[in-house]
Amino acid sequence: MRTTFFLIIAFTVGTIAVQAQNVIVKSRISIAEKGFFPVLNTSGNKMLFTADGYAGLKMIDLQTKQITTISTVGGAGYEPVFAPDDSRIYFRETSFKNNLRYNSVESYDVTTKRSQQMLAPQRILNKIQPINNGVIAYVGNKMLRSSLTKNTTTAPLFVAANEDLQIVKHSNGKIEKLNPLNMPESRYIWVSLSPDNQKILFTAAGKGTFICDLKGKILSSLGSINAPVWFNNDYVVGMEDKDDGHRVVSSKIVMMSITKKTKTEISQSQQIAMYPTASGKSNRIAYHTETGEIEVITVKMK
C-alpha cells in the first residue's frame, strides 16, 4: 500500500447556487494525485479512479488518505465496482487479439491485494454488477454469473445498457428490453437502477435524460444532463457539458431533485467538471475536472 499526499484544499461551508435551497455544499477536498472517472463506494469512504483512457485503477481511502494501485492494465478504470462489503474490487482488463478487443473481469482482494480472473476475455462485456462473492454481467444477450464460492442465491434485479445501446432488464431469469421513448434506433446510455430498485435512470442520446419505472413508463424528464448517477432515491447528479465540436468548453456538476426538478450547482464556476459519482449514504459527490483534478464534495441536505 502506498501512501500519497492527500491535500485538503478547502473546507467550504455555505450554500452554492441557487435554485435548490435544500442542498448545501459542506466541504470540498481535492486529491493531489491526478485522476479521472472517480467511483465512490456505497458508504462513501473509498473511491476508485483511473487515468484518461481508463488506463489502470487506483483506490483512495478517504479516511486514511492512502492510495492503493489496484491495477495498471488497460480498461481497468472503465466502470469498476466495489463488492457490497468493499472487500473486493471488480474491474476489466482489455486485451487485443487479431486487433479485436476483448474484456475480461478481474477481482482484486483488498485484504490480500491479489487479483484473479472472474470472467474470461469476452468480445462483448456490458455492465458488471457485484453480488455476494462474485459478479453478474450482461454479455452478448445473456447474463453471466461468476462467483468465488458456490452461490445459489437468486441474481438480483439487473438493469443496464447493452452493446446495441438498448436498455436491458434481467429479473427472475428473464431478460427484457425496454424502449421507454420508442426510439426507432435505440441509443440509450448511462442506464442505472435507483437504490431502491424501483426506477431506472437513463439518457437517450440527443433526447435528454429521463427516469422511468421498471416497465419503461416515463416518470420524469430531467432535461439535458449527461453522465447522470443516482445520489439517493430522490436526487440524481449529472453534468451539464457544452462543447464546440472540438473539445468541451464548459461543464458543471449539478444535483437535481427528481420530483421538484430543482438544481444545485456542485462544482466551482471556474471548473470544467465532469463525470460525477455519488454516495447518498455519506452525502458525498466526486468528479474530475478537465485537467484531472478530482474533487470530493460533501453536501448537507436541509
Partner: protein, 808 residues
C-alpha cells in the same frame, strides 16, 4: 473469343481470393455534427447560395460517407453503430454522448469522419488519432507516453490510422498539396490548435480511435468533388478496405475504376484557387463513360468535378470509353484487380471543325483618334488557338519588341510592348492567316488594322523634393514629395519609389505618412516620410523606378536617381535680427498683383522658440506677386548677408527680399520654393548697389508658371540673421582645392583635375538648383545667363565647390 478469355481470367482471379469477412468486428462511426446550421460548415459554391441545404455542407458530406461505409461493413458481417443517420440540428450530440456510445457499443475502433479546411489553398490527408506523436515526450494531463497502457492505445490508434491514410491518399482523382499526416491528437492539438489535452471526441475512449480528415472541403475543386456521391463512396470504400486489411478481413474480391473527365486544353476560368494539373482544366459536366465489356454507363454530374466511378467490378481487363458532344471520344484500357481502385483521368480533345476567326481586336479606333502609347494589342478568337502558330503570325510595324500572353484559355492573345510605343505614330498590326487552332485549321484571311498613338509616351516627373543635388535637406523627418504629370497607378509605389542610404540600404517609409495622388488633376503625386531621421552630412539617393506608371499604364521607363545630402538646417552662430515670434510682416495689397488673399500669422510649426510666421497667399492668376512689409524695417549695408530659415511649400514660386533707399528699391531673391520643409537661405547684399542707407523693408512672393498644380503659397519663416559672410554654399567651398578657369567664363569652363569615370562636374544656381551635369572636366555654359553660379566637382573620394561667374 476475347470475351471468353476475359471471363476465364476473372474466374481465375476469384478462385485465389479469400472473400472479405468482417463478422464480429465492431466499428463505431461518428460522422461529425449534424444539421445545416452556422457551425456545420457550408462552403458556398455556384450555383448554390449561402445556406442552401442542397449546396455543400460538411455535415452532409460526412454523413454520406458514414452511411455508405456502414452499408459496406454490414454487408460483410461487421457490426456497426453510427452516431447519426440524419442531418438535423437534433443530431448535434454532445461529445460526451458520442464517446460513451462508442464505448458502450463495445467497438473495436471509433472512426470520426470529417474533412478539413485549409483556407482554400491546401488539401491533404490528416489522421488525428488518440495519443501522441512518436517523437513527443510531453506528459499531458490526460496522456503520459511513459504509461504503457496509454501508449498501447495510442499505437493501436496510429496503426489503423496509418492504414486509412495510405489508402485514402492513393486517390488519384484529387490533387493533394502535400503528403498524408498521421498525428497524435495530444501533440497535434497542442502544437497546432493550442489545446492542452487533445480532442474531445477521443477523450474518454476505451477503444482506439481517429478523427479522419481526408482532404479540405474549402479547396473549391474538392468541394465540387465532395458533391458527388460516388466520390464520397470512394472514400468510404477506402475506409472499408483499411478495415479489411487491419482486421484481417480478407481481400475485397472486386475492384473499382474511377477517374475524372476534363478538357485537354480549356482551362476552368474561375477565380478560386486551383492547384497545377487536372484541377485547372475544364471538367466535362455530363460526359458519358461506358464500360465497354459490360455496357455499364456512368454520366458525370453537372457540378464541375468530372468524376466517374464504376463499382464492384470483377477483376479483369476493361475498356472505358469517354464521350461528350463536341469532343473526340477516347477509350482507355484498364486492368482491374481485386481490392484496388484503377484510376484513370481522361483529357478529351474538342472537335474544332471550322477555321479560326478573329472576333475582335484592340485597339480598335480610327486613325483620327489616338490611343495611349502604353496600349497593349489583343485578338479574341472563336476558338482556342495554337500559341506557336498564332504568335508567329503576328507582326507590328514599326517593329516593336514585346511579350505574348494568353487569356481565357487561349481564346485571347495579348501582345504587350516592352516599352511604351512611339509618340504620335501610326502602327500597323497584322495577323497572318497562318494562325491556327489545335485541329490544324488556319484562318482564311489575314487580319490587319492600324492605330495612332497619342503624343505622350512617358510618365514625367515634374518636380521632386529633394531635387537632384540638393545638399541641405533638413535631416529631421523630411517629407519626400514627387509630382508627376499624371495621376499615378499606386500599385507599386511602395517599392518603386524608395530612399537609399550610402550603403544602398532601403530606408523604410512610415506607412501612415504615405499620401498618394492628393494633387489636383491631371497631376499625380506621392508624399511620404521615413521611419527614421536622416543623418546630417550623409548622402542619400531617392530612387524612382522606371516601372512607376500612371493610371493608364504609361511608365516612367527610364529610372531616376535623385542624389541629395542631409544637413542640419539650423544656423545659430550669427546675430538674429528677427525671431518671428510675433507677426513681423504685413500684407501690402496696393503693391501686390493678382492676389485673392494674403495673410500673415504666427504658427507653432517652428525651428526656434515658440512660433514662426506663416505667410499664406492665394493667387488669382497664374502669375502674380504678393508684397509684405516688415513692421520693423531693418537697416542693412551691402557688405552684409541676410539669412533666413524658410519652410518651403514646393510650389516653385520665388521669395524675394525688398530693400529700399530713399530714392530707390531693389529686390534680391532669397530662394526658389522648390523645397518642402525647413531650409536655410541667404542673400549676399553685395548685389545691392554700392550706396549707403539700405533698409530691408519687405518680402515678396512671386508666382512662377512652373507648376500649375497650386494657386496657394504657404510658407513659414523663422529666425532671420544678419552677418558678414555667407555661411552656406560659398562658405563651404574649398577654393584653394578647386580652380575653374576661365572665371568669369563665357562659353566653356574647365577644372584642373584628370577625367575619370567618376568625375562629375555640376553647375548649380545660387539657390541650389542643379542646372547642368557632365562626366568631364569641362562644361559648356553658353546656355546660362550672366550671373553668379556654383560649380561643384564630385570625385570618387571627395567633392569641391567654387563660385563661377558667367559673363558675356
Amino acid at each position: 473469343m476475347k470475351r471468353i478469355i476475359f471471363f476465364a481470367f476473372a474466374i481465375l482471379q476469384f478462385s485465389f481470393l479469400q472473400a472479405q469477412n468482417l463478422t464480429g468486428v465492431r466499428i463505431y462511426i461518428n460522422p461529425g455534427h449534424g444539421g445545416f446550421d452556422a457551425d456545420d460548415r457550408n462552403v458556398v459554391i455556384a450555383p448554390f447560395t449561402s445556406g442552401n441545404p442542397n449546396g455543400f455542407w460538411e455535415s452532409q458530406s460526412n454523413l454520406d460517407k458514414g452511411l455508405q461505409l456502414r452499408t459496406m461493413l454490414q454487408n460483410t458481417g461487421a457490426s456497426v453503430s453510427i452516431s447519426r443517420t440524419t442531418n438535423t440540428t437534433a443530431d448535434d450530440l454532445p461529445l460526451s454522448q458520442i464517446v460513451t456510445m462508442a464505448n458502450q457499443f463495445n467497438s473495436d475502433f471509433m472512426l470520426a469522419i470529417h474533412s478539413n479546411a485549409g483556407n482554400g489553398v491546401a488539401s491533404y490527408v490528416l489522421m488525428i488519432h488518440y495519443g501522441s506523436d512518436l517523437t513527443d515526450t510531453q506528459i499531458y494531463n490526460t496522456y503520459n507516453p511513459n504509461n504503457p497502457t496509454q501508449l498501447a492505445l495510442s499505437n493501436k490508434s496510429r496503426d489503423i490510422s496509418t492504414e486509412i491514410a495510405k489508402n485514402t491518399f492513393a486517390n488519384q482523382i484529387t490533387t493533394w498539396s502535400s503528403g498524408y499526416q498521421v498525428r497524435g491528437d495530444k501533440t497535434f492539438a497542442r502544437t497546432i490548435m493550442g489545446f492542452t489535452d487533445g480532442y474531445g471526441v477521443l477523450r474518454g475512449l476505451t477503444v482506439p480511435g481517429v478523427i479522419s480528415e481526408v482532404g479540405m472541403h474549402d479547396y473549391i475543386p474538392e468541394t465540387y468533388r465532395l458533391m458527388n456521391m460516388e466520390y464520397k463512396w470512394l472514400e468510404a470504400w477506402n475506409f472499408y478496405k483499411s478495415f479489411c486489411n487491419y482486421f484481417n478481413g480478407g481481400q475485397i474480391t472486386t475492384g473499382v475504376i474511377a477517374g475524372q473527365v476534363r478538357d485537354s486544353r480549356i482551362k476552368l476560368e474561375t477565380s478560386y484557387n486551383k492547384f497545377a494539373g487536372n484541377d485547372q482544366m475544364l471538367p466535362l459536366n455530363g460526359a458519358k463513360l461506358t464500360l465497354v465489356e459490360t455496357g455499364e454507363t456512368y454520366t458525370a454530374d453537372n457540378l464541375q468535378n468530372g468524376v466517374f466511378v464504376f463499382k464492384n467490378l470483377t477483376p479483369g481487363v476493361y475498356n472505358v470509353k469517354a464521350e461528350k458532344d463536341g469532343y473526340y471520344p477516347q477509350t482507355k484500357t484498364l486492368t482491374v484487380t481485386a481490392h484496388n481502385i484503377a484510376f484513370s483521368n481522361f483529357a478529351l480533345n474538342r472537335v474544332r471543325s471550322t477555321p479560326p476567326q478573329v472576333l475582335s481586336f484592340t485597339p480598335n479606333v480610327s486613325l483620327a483618334d489616338s490611343v495611349e502609347a502604353s496600349t497593349s494589342i489583343s485578338f479574341s478568337f472563336n476558338w482556342d488557338m495554337d500559341a506557336t502558330s498564332t504568335t508567329q503570325a503576328f507582326s507590328i510595324t514599326p517593329h516593336t519588341e514585346g511579350t505574348f500572353t494568353w487569356e481565357d484559355t487561349n481564346y485571347r492573345m495579348r501582345f504587350t510592348p516592352n516599352k511604351p510605343l512611339e509618340k504620335n505614330t501610326v502602327y500597323t498590326v497584322n495577323l497572318a492567316n497562318t494562325a491556327s487552332h489545335p485541329d490544324n485549321l488556319s484562318m482564311l484571311n489575314d487580319v490587319t488594322f492600324q492605330f495612332r498613338t497619342k503624343n505622350r509616351n512617358r510618365l514625367s516627373l515634374i518636380t521632386s523634393y529633394p531635387f537632384d543635388g540638393n545638399n541641405k535637406v533638413y535631416f529631421n523627418n523630411p517629407t519626400f514629395r514627387l509630382v508627376f504629370d499624371r495621376k499615378l497607378n499606386t500599385g507599386n509605389l511602395q517599392t518603386a519609389i524608395k530612399v537609399l542610404d550610402e550603403t544602398n540600404t532601403v530606408l523604410a517609409k512610415t506607412t501612415r505618412s504615405v499620401v498618394n495622388n492628393s494633387i489636383v488633376s491631371p497631376y499625380g503625386s506621392t508624399y511620404f516620410n521615413l521611419t527614421q531621421n536622416l543623418i546630417a552630412g550623409k548622402e542619400y539617393t531617392l530612387v524612382v523606378d522606371g516601372e512607376v506608371m500612371d493610371e493608364v499604364g504609361m511608365k516612367l521607363v527610364e529610372p531616376i536617381n535623385i542624389k541629395f545630402k542631409a544637413s542640419n538646417t539650423l544656423v545659430t552662430a550669427q546675430p538674429v535680427i528677427e525671431t518671428f515670434e510675433t507677426p513681423a510682416l504685413t500684407y501690402i495689397s496696393t503693391e501686390s498683383l493678382e492676389i485673392t488673399s494674403a495673410t500673415v500669422a504666427t504658427n507653432t510649426t517652428k525651428l526656434f522658440d515658440f512660433f514662426s510666421n506663416k505667410i499664406n497667399v492665394l493667387f488669382s492668376n497664374i502669375s502674380g506677386e504678393a508684397l509684405f512689409g516688415f513692421l520693423n524695417p531693418l537697416n542693412v549695408s551691402n557688405d552684409k548677408v541676410v539669412g533666413m530659415h524658410v519652410f518651403g511649400d514646393h510650389t516653385g514660386n520665388e521669395v524675394w527680399l525688398q530693400f529700399r533707399i530713399p530714392d530707390g528699391v531693389q529686390y534680391l531673391k532669397l530662394c526658389d520654393l522648390n523645397f518642402y520643409g525647413w531650409e536655410f537661405h541667404e542673400v549676399d547684399l553685395s548685389n545691392l548697389s554700392i550706396v549707403a542707407g539700405w533698409t530691408l523693408t519687405g518680402m515678396k512672393i512671386e508666382r512662377k508658371n512652373r507648376y500649375l498644380f497650386s494657386a496657394v503659397s504657404d510658407i513659414l519663416l523663422d529666425n532671420m540673421l544678419l552677418y558678414d559672410e555667407l555661411v552656406l554654399a560659398l562658405k563651404t567651398i574649398s577654393v584653394s582645392k578647386l580652380k575653374a578657369y576661365p572665371n568669369p567664363a563665357s562659353s566653356v569652363v574647365r577644372v584642373d583635375v584628370p577625367v575619370t569615370s567618376e568625375t562629375l562636374l555640376e553647375l548649380y544656381s545660387l539657390n541650389g538648383e542643379l542646372l547642368s551635369k557632365v562626366n568631364n572636366n569641362k562644361m559648356n555654359v553658353t546656355a546660362f545667363s550672366t550671373g553668379t553660379y556654383i560649380l561643384k566637382l564630385r570625385t570618387a573620394k571627395d567633392q569641391y565647390t567654387c563660385p563661377l561667374i558667367i559673363s558675356r
